[in-house]
């Protein structure tokens, strides 16, 4: 609970576009995309470890909710510019945003 978090609410972050053979829960459509941290979520065993050890003894990381602009996620987005999408990441899937999104 008292883990030192790498990111703060309001930080602009990018989702790491790493390939992994391990179990994870990071959607393809978020990889390499940039958004803003909106909420802290409790520290928990990361999915990469949890799948193999349901008892909960795996590595833990803080989690974050990140908000994306739909226009950034989908080049052909059919909704409106103000529309957003939020989803959750463990800390190691995030890095400080380097640019204003890749598109």
């Amino acid at each position: 609970m008292t883990a030192k978090r790498k990111f703060n609410i309001g930080d602009r972050v990018s989702v790491v576009d790493k390939t992994t053979l391990f179990h994870h829960r990071t959607q393809k459509f978020t990889r390499g995309q940039s958004g803003v941290v909106t909420e802290y979520r409790p520290e928990w065993v990361i999915p990469e470890d949890e799948a193999f050890d349901p008892a909960g003894n795996g590595r833990k990381e803080p989690f974050y909710i990140v908000r994306f602009k739909q226009d950034d996620l989908w080049p052909d987005y059919t909704g409106h510019h103000i529309d957003t999408l939020e989803t959750e990441f463990s800390e190691s899937w995030l890095e400080p945003a380097t640019s204003k999104g890749k598109r």
Partner: protein, 237 residues
């Protein structure tokens, strides 16, 4: 729904079900698989009973109660938005049930998303079918289909339109993809025309779909049923 009898025996439910109907193959299959699993030691009959009782007790009525209470009690609303899991205890919903640590698919981090005149929330789980079961019960079939899951993130306004919900351009549509441990429920806005209603009356219009975010509550809308929803395939008893 909950008035139906258990799969252990058939036709025994008191009253309305005394007409003997054909037992479905799936009723038989379910029981056969369960018995084999228990015999092979995969789990015990007691384990199954515990989960079955829990499954029978959950449903959208839990979420409806939360929302209705929040509409009439601003302090409860604040507690609900601040700590959803904890506030649930006030209406008798314990996210730690039935195991003491929740179920394998319902984590205990529950968050309520408040709709406002400028923001509309909707929930989806693109990776599988995470759903706030302790407050909404089992997810509807469509929620689990790839059709809904793929399109709700990509073309959410189109999907909402298919549900009959058209949002103005200046309302931010925010899709929540519950891919990890958090479980979400939408708290819709209290509609006009419900002034002076009791909590119980209000709860009746807070239907499942309004808490998923694919519909809005209205004074005369007490069911999500669209056109006497068909029983998709399958003979009903």
């Amino acid at each position: 729904m909950s008035t139906r009898h258990d799969g252990h025996g058939h036709g025994e439910a008191p009253g309305e079900f005394q007409i003997a109907t054909k037992v479905s193959e799936f009723e038989i299959l379910e029981l056969a698989v369960r018995e084999l699993a228990i015999e092979k030691g995969l789990f015990s009959a007691e384990d199954h009973r515990k989960f079955a009782e829990w499954a029978d007790g959950i449903g959208p009525h839990g979420g409806s109660k939360l929302v209705a209470k929040a509409w009439v009690d601003p302090e409860f609303k604040q507690r609900l938005l601040a700590d959803g899991t904890k506030a649930c205890l006030e209406v008798g919903i314990d996210w730690l049930q039935p195991t003491g640590s929740g179920t394998p698919s319902d984590y205990t981090f529950f968050y309520v998303l408040e709709n406002t005149p400028k923001l509309h929330n909707v929930i989806v789980c693109t990776l599988c079918s995470c759903y706030p079961r302790p407050v909404l019960g089992m997810s509807p079939d469509w929620y689990r289909t790839p059709n809904y899951r793929r399109r709700m993130v990509r073309r959410p306004r189109e999907v909402l339109a298919e549900f009959g919900l058209h949002l103005p351009e200046d309302v931010e549509l925010r899709v929540h993809d519950s891919n990890q441990k958090s479980r979400f429920m939408v708290m819709p806005m209290r509609p006009e025309g419900t002034e002076g209603w009791s909590e119980k009356q209000l709860a009746e219009i807070v239907t499942r779909d309004t808490m998923i975010g694919v519909a809005l509550p209205a004074p005369n809308r007490k069911s999500d049923t669209k056109t006497e929803t068909l029983v998709s395939g399958g003979r009903r008893r």
